[in-house]
Structures are given as C-alpha cells and as structure tokens.
C-alpha cells in the first residue's frame, strides 16, 4: 500500500515538473530560438544583398520562384515597435514560421500587382504579431528586398475571420474594400491570442517605393 501511494505521488510530481518545463519551453525557449533564427536569416539576406551588386532600377523580370524556406525580404512595422524587424521567408510551413514570417506560396511577389500575403505567429516563437490588433488605418508596413524599399499603408483596422476564409489572400481580397487590381499586402495571424478558432487579417496597399541607394524611407523614422 505504501509503495502504491509513493509511486503515485512520484508520478504526480513528475507530471507537474513536465508541465512546468513545457510552459518554460513554449513561453521562453521558442522565443530564444526564434530570435537567433530570425537574426541569422536577416544576416544571410544582408550578406547576399551586399555581395551582389545593386541591380538597376528596371531589372530583368525574374520568373524564378523563391525556394521554400529561403529569406526573401525584411519587414519593418513602426507601429509594432521601433526595433520591430522580421525576415519574411518563402512558404508558410510550420518549420518556416519558427524562423520568421512566411510568404504564402502562390501569392504575388513583393511589390508586384496582386496580393503579397504574409503569415506570422501572434504568440510563441518571438511573438512577432503580438500587438497585431493595434494596427490602424494609415500605419506603414515597410519591406525591403535589398534593391528597393516598399512602403505599404494599412487600409483598415484588423478584420476578424475564420480559418477557412481563404478569400482574404486573393489578388483582390474579398471584403477588403479594394475595388480593382492593385499592389496589395495581406498579413494574417491567429485570434484569439492563444487560440486558433479565428484569424486576424490586415490589408494594405503599396504607397511608395524607393531605391535602397536613396536611403531609408521616411515612414521608418517618423
């Protein structure tokens, strides 16, 4: 009898310790890993950009699709923090989203006509979109691909929808208020903060472009 009680209590303590460790892993350790992974991705991108000569303003149209998991751009959102900076990687696989934001496969390329759609974690893995609900009309979303700065402007406060609503990343997203083809950007994340029953969506349109050689866009420093 004593043996049974002792074994049972030891089991309970073990399970409790496991749960605590798992919480530490989810809340803290995924953030540590994401911070180093995303910094590594940004470093890799910036090394590539400085090692290849800056292309002219009218490059030959590239039709090569981005390789899955590769970095394609760096995103800055001043509203989410002055130092908020995340790499955008190709694809929205689970493993890719652990290292940065993910560009939906099959949506438009950065700055092109259509919809450049990007997904990111709201919580865990560095919490990139933790303050997503604070985005408002007129907020700047700035991206660079090493050649050009693209400044998008948010068109309305986050829109709440269900996970099956794939129309939100269409070239002309339904319900966005856009009435024709254009250069759009869509961000998606989960809602509620720790749940998965819904999604939050923000739409933006391309407002300005600027060659990297001309310096940072004003939107980043205002």
């Amino acid at each position: 009898m004593r043996l049974v009680v002792r074994t049972f209590s030891e089991l309970c303590i073990t399970v409790g310790a496991l749960i605590v460790l798992f919480v530490v892993y989810v809340l803290y350790w995924t953030g540590v890993q994401a911070a180093s992974a995303s910094a590594g991705q940004i470093d890799t991108l910036q090394r590539e950009w400085t090692s290849t000569p800056v292309r002219t303003a009218a490059p030959v149209p590239e039709v090569v699709p981005h390789a899955p998991g590769r970095g394609i751009a760096v995103m800055y959102v001043p509203r989410l923090g002055k130092d908020w900076k995340w790499p955008v990687l190709q694809g929205t696989e689970v493993g890719t989203l652990k290292k940065g934001l993910g560009h939906y496969t099959g949506t438009a390329r950065l700055g092109e006509t259509g919809n450049f759609a990007v997904a990111g974690h709201r919580r865990t893995y560095g919490d990139p979109f933790k303050d997503f609900p604070r985005l408002r009309e007129g907020d700047a979303i700035v991206l660079t691909d090493g050649t050009t700065w693209f400044t998008y402007r948010v068109d309305r406060a986050p829109y709440r929808t269900v996970p099956t609503d794939v129309g939100v990343i269409d070239p002309v997203p339904a319900k966005s208020g856009f009435d024709g083809p254009g250069r759009y950007l869509t961000l998606t994340t989960c809602e509620p903060e720790w749940g998965s029953s819904h999604r939050l969506v923000v739409w933006a349109h391309l407002d300005a472009t600027r060659p990297v050689a001309d310096g940072r866009p004003q939107a980043l420093d205002s």
């Binding site: 089991l11 460790l21 892993y25 689970v94 974690h121 709201r122 099956t164 720790w194 999604r199």
Partner: protein, 53 residues
C-alpha cells in the same frame, strides 16, 4: 521509482548525487531538443494561416 534509481546508482552519496544531476540534465535536454518540438505544433499556437482546413 526515484528511490529505486537511487539504490541502483553506484558509488557513495556524492557520486550518486552527481550522477543524478547528470541524468536530470540529460532528460531535460532530450525534452527540449526532441519531445517538446514534437508536441508543441499539436497545440493551437501554430495556426496563423488561412488555409481552408
């Protein structure tokens, strides 16, 4: 369970304590490296895309 492990470790109390610490660290490492990365995607924090599923 833990008493059984303790009784089967070699050496005196200090050596046993040292081996125990190493064992605990090995278990924590295995959890963080293999078990938790496998378990974490089963929770809903990863669902950030619209995908029709």
């Amino acid at each position: 369970m833990y008493g059984w492990i303790w009784r089967h470790l070699p050496g005196n109390a200090w050596v046993r304590a040292l081996i125990s610490i190493v064992l605990v660290l090995a278990v924590v490492y295995a959890l963080f490296q293999y078990v938790f990365p496998w378990a974490e995607p089963l929770l809903p924090f990863n669902d950030v895309t619209v995908d029709g599923q």
